[in-house]
Amino acid sequence: MAAPPPPAHWSHFEQEQARDVRALVQQVTGLGEEEPGGRFQAALSFTSSNFRFHRFLDVSSHKVERTVEGIYEKLIIHSELGKAVSWKRLTEKFLNLPLPNTEKTKTDAHYAILSLLLCLSDSPSNTNYVEKPREKEVEKEEEFNWGKYLMEGEEIYFGPDMNSPDWSEDSEEEEDTQPLSREDSGIQVDRTPQEEQDQNKKMVPNVTWKVGEPDARSWLEQHVAPQYWTGRAPRFSHSLHLHSNLAAVWEQHLYSSDPLYMPEERTLVTETHVIRETLWLLSGVKKLFIFQLNEGKVTVRNDIIVTHLTHNCLRSVLEQIAAYGQVVFRLQKFIDEVMGHSSENLTHGALSTPKKATGAPFRTYQAFMWSLYKYFISFKEELTEIEKSIINKDKTITLSIVIDKLLPRLAQLKVLHKVFSTGVAEVPPDTPNVLRASHLLNTLYKAILEYDSVGEASEQTVSLLFSLWVETVRPYLQTVDEWIVHGNLFDPAKEFIIQRNKNVPVNHRDFWYATYTLYSVSEKTENEEKMSDNASASSGSDQAPSSRQHTMVSFLKPVLKQIIMAGKSMQLLKNLQCKDGSPQQTASRDAERKSLYTLFLESVQSRLRHGEESVSDIITEQQATKQSLIKMQSIAERHLELDVVHDPLLAINFARLYLEQSDFHEKFTGGDVCVDRSSESVTCQTFELTLRSCLYPHIDKQYLECCGNLMQTLKKDYRLVEYLQAMRNFFLLEAGDTMYDFYTSIFDKIREKETWQNVSFLNVQLQEAVGQRYPEDSSRLSISFESVDTAKKKLPVHTLDGLTLSYKVPWPVDIVISLECQKIYNQVFLLLLQIKWAKYSLDVLRFDELVSAAEKPQLKEGPLLQQERVPQFGPHTELIKQQIHRMFLLRVKLMHFVNSLHNYIMTRILHSTGLEFQHQVEEAKDLDQLIKIHYRYLSTIHDRCLLREKVSFVKEAIMKVLNLVLMFTERWQAGLGAWKMESIEKMESDFKNCHMFLVTVLNKAVCRGSFPHLESLAVSLMAGMEQS
């Protein structure tokens, strides 16, 4: 049904209005004009009457503008910046555009329309609105024919047959040409592809799109980030709010305040770009836009800017990041270098000898690299997490948030770089591997101790460094393990602090001393290792200067001795066992064995886990700690009061200090309070303790085991103790009967004034004596004689000088009983021989010898000189008797002296020292200790036999007496005729003097208490003194 025609008297304007009202009602209600029940008409009349008769005021442009401004503010407050900006722009644009039937801008009609929309608005802040900016631009180009659209109605009206179906048909046609659907989004979605396609063609005509579909292309356009790195400033909308335009405002300010200011061309980037580049930089990406890498230095690009920060501010923030970026690059470079090398070696170095790769990183560096690498993997994971959250846009992420989040990591990077630069980078290029490795380990160790002492503040750093150290130390511990368990020092890159001297075979006498060179000797251990160092120096090592640089691997210092001992022992042991031949057993045992490093790791883990467990009941633990602290405090206070000091603060600090030493309680309270030991196991501040409890025990255990084995083998299979006994038997004359046979034969010869220096005679005598009781030793023993300078020989006591006993000690016992030892043994042997000789010569004197010798000349001369002699007879016999008596007395005195000396040496010195020595030998833990015990034993007997240079005057006196004894016996044998009274008197006075001197000296020494063993000698000599 056609619409009723408007009344004829209506003006054109009214007719138009009526038509629009109808259209409106139709549009809003959806009713047709032929709607039954007159609903349409009712609605129409309602509308018309409302338009005509209303009580609303005319539109006020001010009011509308205020409302528009208000909505803008509201959107800003609601942080809908995009919407706010669009709103502002659109309203301004609308007001400045003409309306279809109004030429001017900002007319009442404009405001009326805005007012209408405002009245109809329904909570604009709650809706999702996305502006499609491109659409508008295209709209311009496309020129929507708004006039035609409106004019169509006019034509219908002027036509003779104006009715609504026609109009509606037209509108349908329009819908065909113009896809204006009722759904708002439909309008945009349908159009965008074409528009963007056009745009693309305009912007980048050279690019050929393989994706033919416009949808895909537009999708790409929308989702691919604009290439900010190409330098062209991309257009992106951002808020007009003051805060987000700080850069521009500041630029403006500079421009206005400084007449010479020249604004520079800068690339605008967003904060997200900056954040992502930061993340990439830290994860080791080298080619970036904002950060640039020039010759290993990371710099910040100068011409970038973000809208909300001033240029300088951004730059200062980014420069900090760049510094960390550089650290990352430096470490990454190291990792690449080490890794690159090893892979090269693997690929084409498999067949080549390991020596070829001298420049190649050795195992310690590789291990360090590996630990760094692992650290970076976790670091990169963290960075990726952040980047993911940026991509997801779930959370607000700003540059400062990112930096804040990474702060602990950055601190760690700083520490890593510090360690790296001191431990690796600053080492001069020609440094040998051993120095490099030990320097790196030392640096790590020192860093741990340094941070450890700071306490809880750097717990994280300590744990990081500790993990690095644990990784880095792995090759070292493996080397140690290999050495102390298998006995071979496998170190192809020569990085271990101890090196094997190749030119000394194991089964050599010098093996124990000269086989290994300890490279880095620190001052403290220098004395301890002097022996081995000297020995190694003698083997021509050119490493002597390097050993003066104090770069000992500190963590091994407390157990270095054990390691060396264990290593050498093991190697020796292996060599000994090789001869025995039982490799299968050891191999099967070896399969079950855990390596030193594994044991160490397990111990550390269990220790740390122990710490973790204690965290669970940390409250009780804290309470316990507190209680014990209070107890300690009171104890400490009491102790301080003893010293008349009263200072509670001092007491507390003492208590804290001693709390860490768990044995404090035992020390101070007699052990009736149990200390909470678990508190000390929290990893902090206990790095050295950790080592002490986790690493050293294993080394110690292995040390005890293999040194014990070696000792056992030496004692059991190689009869070390028997050889030591043999030395004492023959050199120290402990096998008294055997040696008596030997030396008396010599003494007899001397007494008979026959030649005894003949080597064959000496050896025959020796073999005869020894062969009876010690047949196995007789083949090893030999004796030689060297003539000494004749000046000394004039004295009879030195007749024996030059006699040298030698005993062929088989390997490996000759490590202990060396030639040097035999020299000392020989010195003592000679002294003993001298004493024995003196004693023997005195012992064999017979009284009748002297008497018969005295009477002989009288009998001979008797008949001839009888008459002359008779008057003299009485006094002469008196004189002779007196003389003989004096001789007897002197002899007894001398005997007493010699016997005292003999007793002293044989029992007090040799026997008792020997017993001590035997005891110590049984307890010796390692070979080195045994050698030292032996040396100490030798030097003790050497000292106590007064052979030392320092007490040579005592020995001199004794020698004089012995000499006297020998002269005395000679004269005695020669008979009384050879005597003159004066000579007897001289002998007596000489002896007396010597005796006196010795007694005085010995008494003094005994009184001082410095030589307690001399007491018996002093006493016995004193007893022999004449009471006058």
């Binding site: 409106l24 309602f46 209303h54 709103w87 608005s121 709209e139 409106l150």
Partner: protein
């Protein structure tokens, strides 16, 4: 004048007007219709339409169905 501009404004304000209605409103405003009156009319008409739809549902759809249910119930009881 770009109708898109006004339409965008309308979208921001969440007025619920479509393009066609908006263009009619523009014409009416230009003809001097008071915008507040116009807005109140549109709101009233919307309300009425909603109500109409409701009544239509009650009387045209729901009630006939109800009556058939009643009848079926009566048949069953009888």
């Amino acid at each position: 004048m770009e109708p898109e501009v006004l339409f965008e404004i309308s979208r921001i304000l969440n007025t619920g007007l479509d393009m066609e209605t908006l263009s009619i409103c523009v014409r009416l405003c230009e003809q001097g219709i008071n915008p507040e009156a116009l807005s109140s009319v549109i709101k009233e008409l919307r309300k009425a339409t909603e109500a109409l739809k409701f009544f239509y549902f009650i009387f045209e759809v729901w009630e006939p169905e109800l009556s058939t249910i009643y009848k079926a119930a009566e048949n069953m009881t009888s």
